[in-house]
């Protein structure tokens, strides 16, 4: 891990997210009030989750093509961080929903779909841990993660749009989801996505290195 510039970038972007996220002028909208700033912390979690799942699927495919365990390390640790972000995303979303929609859980299509999506990824962890052979585990979980991702994207992006939803960007519920994203908000929103994603990637790579080192040490012990 020689390249560390992106870690510095992650720190800078996150510092910018927190400081500018709390201090910039935001549009004064009814119901949302100051909570509009949650955009930089709640929505970015889901974007980060999706980006990390893309990385996980990529390494899953690479593992299936080469059969090398080092790709499986990347796949599983990026999925782990993605699940962490997803859990944070759903918890922060519940808090936000309580103060804007009046309830922690509204049985909204977007909410239920994201809960199903998270459960699929919990099942991924259960599946992995139920297999003892490392190669079998890597192969089966790579295949599972490709299918899980292929189901996750329609679940959270397509299906909620086919029906009515309170959540912004879905269905037809004028007066609440109808606001377009403002250029002032974008100035913090896009750097925030990148910053949080890089932090997730950082944590993942640290854990990947731990895994690889552990395997090397085990191999050495066996070959002594």
């Amino acid at each position: 891990m020689k390249a560390y510039w992106w870690k510095i970038l992650a720190i800078a972007l996150l510092a910018y997210t927190v400081i500018a996220g709390l201090l910039i002028d935001v549009p004064r909208l009814p119901i949302l009030n100051e909570t509009i700033r949650a955009l930089f912390f709640h929505v970015t979690m889901w974007f980060g989750m999706i980006l990390m799942l893309v990385v996980a699927v990529y390494y899953g495919i690479r593992h299936l093509r080469t059969g090398e365990l080092q790709h499986d390390d990347m796949a599983v640790e990026f999925t782990n961080s993605a699940i962490l972000f997803g859990v944070i995303g759903i918890s922060t979303g519940m808090v936000w929903a309580k103060f804007t929609w009046g309830d922690y859980w509204t049985n909204d299509p977007k909410l239920n779909a994201s809960a199903i999506g998270l459960l699929m990824y919990f099942a991924y962890l259960v599946l992995r841990n139920s297999l003892t052979d490392v190669y079998q585990r890597a192969k089966i979980s790579a295949v599972y993660s490709i299918f899980a991702f292929a189901a996750f994207i329609p679940l959270i992006f397509i299906l909620p749009r086919l029906t009515d939803s309170l959540h912004p960007g879905n269905g037809g519920n004028p007066g609440f989801n109808a606001y377009d994203m403002d250029s002032n908000l974008r100035k913090v929103f896009y750097p925030a996505i990148l910053g949080w994603t890089l932090l997730g990637a950082w944590i993942s790579t640290v854990r990947v290195r731990t895994r690889r080192l552990e395997r090397k040490m085990e191999d050495k012990l066996i070959n002594l």
Binding site: P27, P30, A178
Partner: protein
């Protein structure tokens, strides 16, 4: 001729969206009917919040950096 009409219609349709969104205008930034934490900002207490969240984030980042360094050290050790 027909081709050009089709192209023209296509170009017009680019401006259409599946959902018409309400744009945010300058008026939304000045709309003082909507309650915001203005008192907190004018008293400067928002900086307390910035400092606290900044420290929490900084602490987590220091922890990640330390873990990163630790694993780098172990990798070095293993090589030798």
């Amino acid at each position: 001729m027909k081709k050009y009409i089709v192209i023209l219609l296509l170009l017009i349709s680019f401006s259409l969206k599946a959902q018409d969104k309400i744009g945010i205008t300058d008026a939304d930034y000045q709309n003082s009917d909507v309650q915001m934490a203005d008192g907190m900002r004018s008293e400067g207490k928002i900086y307390v919040l910035v400092a606290i969240i900044g420290i929490v984030l900084g602490g987590i980042l220091v922890y990640v950096i330390q873990t990163d360094k630790k694993i780098s050290g172990l990798e070095e050790k293993f090589k030798n």
